[in-house]
């Protein structure tokens, strides 16, 4: 699946839910199913600034592709980072940098988070782009 197709699939998944509470339940599921993140990688340099809850994001290159892992102490935030990982992990840095991340607005994620949360979301996207730029 190309990155474009993947983003379209995420938009479709979210369109199944009318109510935001249901969308949160879906994010909570994503958060609960996220691959475990190693405790020893919960370090200051992996911590994403600008989030009210703590979010750690780690990235490594596997061949040509960037693989992300992450964790958060808040489950909805963890669901959001899980969604980003689902879309961007295993992509090449140039693919990531070419994305406009517009699916986030399409699913209404930004407008349904409080300003502090939305700030946290912006920081997560920023970190993913930063890592992609460093490895491109």
């Amino acid at each position: 699946m190309t990155l474009e197709e993947k983003q379209a699939a995420v938009i479709e998944d979210f369109s199944l839910y009318d109510q935001w509470l249901d969308k949160y339940e879906y994010l909570i599921e994503l958060g609960k199913n996220l691959e475990p993140y190693p405790e020893d990688k919960k370090t200051e340099d992996k911590l994403i600034k600008g989030c009210q809850s703590r979010v750690w994001l780690d990235a490594k290159m596997e061949g040509e592709r960037l693989v992300f892992s992450a964790d958060s102490d808040a489950i909805i935030t963890k669901g959001i980072i899980a969604l980003l990982i689902d879309v961007f992990s295993g992509r090449t840095p140039s693919e990531i940098l070419s994305s406009d991340f517009s699916f986030i607005d399409a699913i209404g994620l930004r407008e349904n988070l409080s300003p502090t949360r939305a700030g946290g979301l912006a920081s997560m996207i920023e970190r993913i782009r930063e890592v992609a730029a460093q490895n491109s």
Binding site: Q19, W20, L21, Y24, E25, I28, Q52, S53, R54, D73, A74, I75, I76, T77, L113, S114, R117
Partner: protein, 409 residues
């Protein structure tokens, strides 16, 4: 008065939010405004607007009287000895900053000590730290016990010959417990120590008589007690305020200004009110206090608040996953404010889900990081009720909270 009738004074309480009808339980952060407060503001801005005290024209007199009548109203409400003891500020934070700065200039020398408590809002910690570092003084901390009570037994040990002032909240914005001010003030005064009371929460829930309390300073914000935002009060005993130099210089606070002989300051209260004041906001103290009196005096409203508080306290006590911070002992008082954590659920997740159910609560550190550290948590969830919150809203909150916990745990 019926709660339903009291609610009608606050137009916003009839509004809806995306999750349904608004259930506003973030009153400790800011209260909602009654129509009368907004009317007073707009009448001041639209028909009584001129700069204060200076001009001789008719409108300036009207504006000055409008502003100064709020000072009389606040003086009477606090039972302060004189109107000169009422200084208008932009809020409790500005009031504490002014008091800390000016008290420090007048009374603090290197090696002196200042006591704050572990349960203070950042606004009653940081200004003292700033003053202490400027004057070479040190901060001592009065801790709380596991139930959130101030360790008064430790107070005598903290007091020394160099202790000059103690800063304590009337009611903590996290714990909701009414602190034993008479005892604290008695101990402090017996040792020649002044006391500043942060009344940001206290003024909303208790009748305050500063002379009976005998505190040296009492501060609060207007916006938490129905008045316009960016208004506040610094009450201080006249003899202290007289001896303290002003924090800010500029218009209105001067007596005479000379480039060659220096400047002399105006008498109280103008000495501490430099620059153009909140001409439209300050007069809203009058209808705000009238509303507050009604809330605290009316038997039906008081009974409702009490019933709501008891219901919420007993419901959350039933859930073993919930830990409440600040539990009242025998003969103690707690305002209807509940800060808690839920085992297995992050406070932010809970707040976010409750928001989608129309319920506004606060999550995070509540501007009290030392207290969060004391209890070993990164944050808490806080539901704070006002006299206009109904039993139906309390039930809705409990039901929604239980549903939110179910989604997360």
């Amino acid at each position: 008065m019926k709660v339903a009738q009291f609610r009608k004074l606050f137009p916003i309480l009839g509004d809806s939010v995306p999750g349904g009808k608004l259930v506003y339980l973030d009153n400790a952060a800011t209260s909602q405004r009654p129509q009368a407060v907004v009317d007073a503001y707009s009448s001041s801005a639209l028909h009584k607007n001129a700069n204060l005290h200076r001009a001789v024209h008719h409108l300036s007199n009207i504006a000055t009287n409008n502003y100064e009548s709020a000072r009389d109203c606040v003086r009477e409400y606090l039972n302060a000895a004189s109107r000169e003891e009422i200084i208008f500020t932009s809020g409790a934070t500005a009031a504490i900053n002014t008091a800390a700065f000016s008290f420090g200039e007048a009374y603090i020398k290197p090696g002196d000590e200042i006591i704050v408590t572990e349960a203070e809002h950042h606004s009653n910690i940081v200004p003292w730290q700033m003053m202490a570092s400027r004057k070479g003084a040190t901060i001592k901390v009065l801790p709380v016990d596991d139930n959130g009570h101030l360790r008064l037994d430790l107070l005598p040990r903290l007091l020394g010959p160099n202790t000059k002032i103690l800063a304590v909240s009337h009611i903590s914005n996290v714990l909701g417990l009414v602190n034993p001010l008479p005892e604290i003030i008695r101990i402090a005064h017996a040792n020649g120590i002044k006391v500043l009371v942060d009344g940001a929460q206290g003024i909303v829930h208790k009748m305050v008589d500063v002379q009976a309390l005998d505190c040296d300073f009492y501060v609060f914000s207007g916006h938490k007690m129905f008045a316009a935002p960016f208004t506040g009060v610094l009450y201080g005993k006249k003899e202290l305020l007289d001896a303290m130099p002003p924090m800010m210089g500029g218009g209105e606070m001067i007596d005479t200004v000379s480039l060659y002989k220096g400047t002399t300051y105006a008498p109280l209260p103008a000495k501490f009110e430099a620059g153009t004041q909140n001409i439209s906001g300050v007069p809203t103290f009058i209808p705000a206090i009238e509303t507050l009196r009604l809330a605290l005096d009316d038997e039906e409203l008081r009974d409702n608040s009490k019933a709501v508080a008891e219901y919420v306290a007993s419901e959350i006590a039933k859930d073993s996953r919930i830990r409440v911070y600040g539990s009242k002992g025998a003969g103690e008082e707690k305002i209807p404010l509940f800060s808690f954590t839920v085992h297995g659920a992050h406070h932010e997740d809970l707040a976010l889900i409750l928001d989608k159910m129309g319920i506004a609560v606060r999550s995070g550190q509540m501007c009290a990081e030392p207290l969060m550290d004391r209890f070993g948590v990164t944050g808490m969830l806080r539901a704070s009720f006002a006299p206009y919150n109904t039993m139906e809203e309390a039930e809705m909150f409990i039901k929604s909270l239980s549903r939110a916990i179910g989604m997360l745990v």
